[in-house]
Amino acid sequence: MASLPSPIVESPVETTGNDSRFRLILRRFLRRRLAIAGLSVVLLLFAFAYIGPHFYKWRYDQIDFEAFLQHPSATHWFGTTQNGFDMLALTMRGMQKSLIIGLIGAVLSTGIAAVAGATAGYFAGWADRAIVALIDLILVLPGFLIIAILSPAFHGRTWLIFVVLLAAFQWMITARVIRSMTLSMKEREFVYAARFMGVPDWKIIFRHILPNMSSFLIIDATINVSSLILAEVGLSFFGFGVQPPDISLGTLIGDHWESAQTANGYQFYFPAILLVVLVLSVNLVGDGLRDALDPNAGTAAGKGAGSK
């Protein structure tokens, strides 16, 4: 078949390429001063947690036998505990764990949510009903309770189990949103077009459906980082989360909260305030991303940092 002579040759109306979509997003993000501030703080705290220890003379597991319960000073910037551990070193160590838990957990949880939600929405039928029932069930039993009950069982094992558990109880609401987004996207014409040209279902999910939710997924993962950091703190506070000898911001707060009302309040306030700064910054980044990626998003993407 010979190609036809073309009657009309049109050129694209706008010149906004895909990389300019990226630039537009960047521009929108940069315009949010708070988001920028949040991002800078997150990066600073990363450096603080991972690079800081190399430049500080105390290590987190080192006891200064000359300084028990010492207030912040030139030698111990954040003071020491009653056992002579350096608070700043402990805080950096704890921040490392909190950050890594937040990151791994968030990726896991958003991943589970994406797969479960898209599967339920796309295939309907029994797969849908099973996943929806599972979601309902887990929502009835808050993850906090389950992880707390299970905590004796992972005593003395790797903290990664804890992260997996955290993620396993974080994905449900996102999955619901993704399910309903899939339900409507499934009726979109480009998905029909792919189906009618014979593209297999799983390919449609991974090539067409999930990529078109990428904005939502990115935002959700960001918000999940802060939710998971908060969840970690809550569980570790009671000894249900990160177990000694590992240290996280949660264990530090759990160990020292009672000092808050005493003269030794620094033991509580240093880790607590850094924690709040971290979570707030992550939330600001998430919000900035939402504005930049999804300026018209309404409540669907409005999943806040709700878990404690």
Binding site: L34, D136, L137, L139, V140, L141, P142, F144, L145, I146, A148, I149, L150, S151, P152, A153, I173, S226, L230, V233, G234, F237, F238, G239, F240, I253, G254, W257, A260, Q261, G265, F268, A272, L275, V276, V279, L280, N283, L284, D287, G298, T299, G302, G304, A305, G306, S307, K308
Partner: protein
């Protein structure tokens, strides 16, 4: 309704199985000095229906039989779970109800106001405030408020709010002084939950309201001659309330978890405190009972939110 009851059933059983599998009551005896003979330990555990040498299904069967007859079993200290629960439920419910009701009302009002004033100073302030609150873990918020309460008392030179316990013992029950005293104890713990509810709901209400503000029917309302403010209140706010019903159910589960921290920090003897203690003491029966309590609570909230949604939304009502 059948589905809901079914979920409670599954959830409670699941809690029992998880607790029975993960908690190890036998270890409670390990640290004793002198160590009791194994036969005594077994007898003790068996009498509590906690012996791990009995197959788990048999234990579950016994427990379930008890539950169906209204008996939730014995605590690890050989007390009745029912009695302990009776003492604690009221304490927790008071916190939960006040926290969720006031929290949602304030949050909805703040969110709607924020949306109307979008991008003005008050909106930014409100948004930042709710972001800040959502970024503070409940423990930290509770400790902050407990300290702030103490400083406040110092500042006014008078003990107006209390930050430990539920009431001061020794006052005649339900006398005027007792009620006031209880309120003085209630302020700070409730405030923690209210602030969190405020932050939570205001975000959603603001979003929901913004979705509605640009919609055609608000324009129609103005086109028929309503002032902008009238159109916003009568048409936009009313419609934007609908999605809030759904969030009520989610938030209720969260608020119970919040109350665990609040009870700990403010030394209230409620369900939350009991939960932590039960796990630390390997108390399977108590843990399962709390699991049931939470499941019922969440489902009740879910039911309520359905009722609210149906009341607010005629499209669902008649569908």
């Amino acid at each position: 309704m059948v589905y809901l009851a079914f979920l409670v059933l599954i959830a409670t059983s699941a809690t029992y199985f998880l607790a029975a599998a993960a908690l190890n009551p036998r270890s409670n005896f390990a640290g004793r000095n002198p160590p009791p003979p194994p036969a005594v330990i077994d007898a003790q555990l068996t009498s509590l229906n906690l012996n791990d040498k009995t197959p788990i299904l048999v234990r579950f069967g016994r427990w379930a039989d008890g539950v169906l007859h209204g008996n939730l079993g014995l605590t690890i200290d050989h007390d009745s779970v029912n009695a302990e629960m009776g003492r604690r439920v009221g304490v927790s419910l008071r916190l939960l109800l006040i926290g969720s009701l006031l929290g949602s009302l304030c949050g909805i009002a703040a969110g709607a106001w924020s949306a109307v004033k979008q991008y003005q100073l008050s909106d930014h302030a409100m948004t930042l405030l709710s972001f800040a609150i959502l970024s503070v873990p409940t423990v930290v918020l509770a400790v902050f408020l407990a300290n702030a309460g103490a400083s406040f008392n110092d500042a006014i030179g008078h003990r107006l709010v209390y930050n430990t316990g539920e009431y001061t013992p020794g006052l005649e029950a339900w006398s005027g002084a007792d009620v006031v005293n209880r309120l003085q104890h209630l302020v700070l713990p409730s405030l923690v939950l209210i602030l969190q509810g405020l932050a939570f709901y205001s975000r959603y209400q603001r979003n929901s309201m913004l979705d509605v503000l640009g919609s055609d029917f608000v324009r129609t309302a103005q086109a028929k001659g309503l002032r902008r403010s009238q159109a916003l209140i009568r048409h936009a706010l009313r419609t934007a309330l609908i999605p809030m019903g759904t969030f009520f159910a989610y938030e209720f589960a969260l608020i119970f978890i919040g109350s665990i921290f609040v009870e700990k920090i403010f030394s209230w003897h409620g369900m939350g405190e009991w939960f932590v203690q039960s796990i630390q003491k390997n108390d399977v029966n108590a843990t399962a009972a709390i699991g049931m309590f939470v499941a019922v609570l969440v489902l009740f909230a879910g039911f309520l939110s359905d009722v609210v949604t149906v009341t607010l939304d005629p499209r669902i009502r008649r569908a």
